[in-house]
Symmetry: C2
Subunit: 213 residues, 2 copies
Amino acid sequence: MAVRLDLNISLDGVASPSGQSADNPMGEDWGRLVAHYIATKTFRERVLHDGSGGGTTGVDDRYAVEYFQGIGAEIMGAGMFGLHAFPDDPDWRGWWGEEPPFGGPVLVLTHLERAPIEFANGTRFEFVSTSPEEALARAHDLAGGADVRIGGGVGIARSFLAAGLVDRIHVAISPIILGHGERLWDDLRNFDTGYAVSSELADSGVIHVTLTR
Amino acid sequence: MAVRLDLNISLDGVASPSGQSADNPMGEDWGRLVAHYIATKTFRERVLHDGSGGGTTGVDDRYAVEYFQGIGAEIMGAGMFGLHAFPDDPDWRGWWGEEPPFGGPVLVLTHLERAPIEFANGTRFEFVSTSPEEALARAHDLAGGADVRIGGGVGIARSFLAAGLVDRIHVAISPIILGHGERLWDDLRNFDTGYAVSSELADSGVIHVTLTR
């Protein structure tokens, strides 16, 4: 029933580097931000469908495993689904190929009208134009008692944080200073005071910080 | 010979909370930012001159000990010395009473003209109106081969970082999200790439991150 958010950020709080384009949809330096995550065994299996058994199995991978556990529905923004990069392509089905790593209902917040898209592995994208609160109510219905994840991007994440709707926030802080892009935490005055905070270091140098209420 | 910087920042990178006034010179929420440091045995002894032997002796205190080791001269801004709060008081001698915890030469960057101030414990404040580079050359002369510390505040720290003058940066990141005030890292594009980065967790929850080149 909890609402969860997981993001990769830099030491200077950047969750979404600048320099995004259709060719480079995640922005410059995105690779530096997510290197630890892409290196995990779980990312390779779940997202890349790499059956070789390779990848890291330490602290970073433990968080990657948890990322996929207990989620009944996800909410993401239009940009994360790819509608900003490909707004005029009615056949766009997301970045993830024919086996999107969700396996369940995903609400995409957009003002564009799109018919739902279903995949054989259970992933079903549904396009809605609502407030964060309304999207969350719909996601809880779809999740059937399991947790709801706010998938991103950072603008969507910030709107749910600002509305006080997120119960557990996990940020994987890469020890890099990007100096450009959209920051996660701005203007959330004394945001932590309603949460218990714990931290853990990975061998990769990444600092995993979890805020739970 | 190294140039060192130590700062306390929040998870959202704030080094100097807003809300500063003569009555509250460090700004709102400053106490939350430095609670771990003020709790250390070393801070109590060196800054508060508390001879009771109390205070924490863990990771936070180890960094507090290192903070005072090997420094031959310090550079600080006018605000940190107190000239913004008390610009018209020619007798202002800093916030630290008659035993300032420096014990050596301190350059205060200011456009105000002030005569040097000397204390019995060896602390000597010298007021200069120069560029970061010129101040650093003067500080190296005064340090006699020992390290130079950039004391702060955050504006001074950022000007030395932007000029590429700092060899070792230690930030004690408190797991709090202030959401107001002046951030340390903004606009330092890919700043970390010239440094090796290491991190350590304290029992207090503080994350000590050190960048060394």
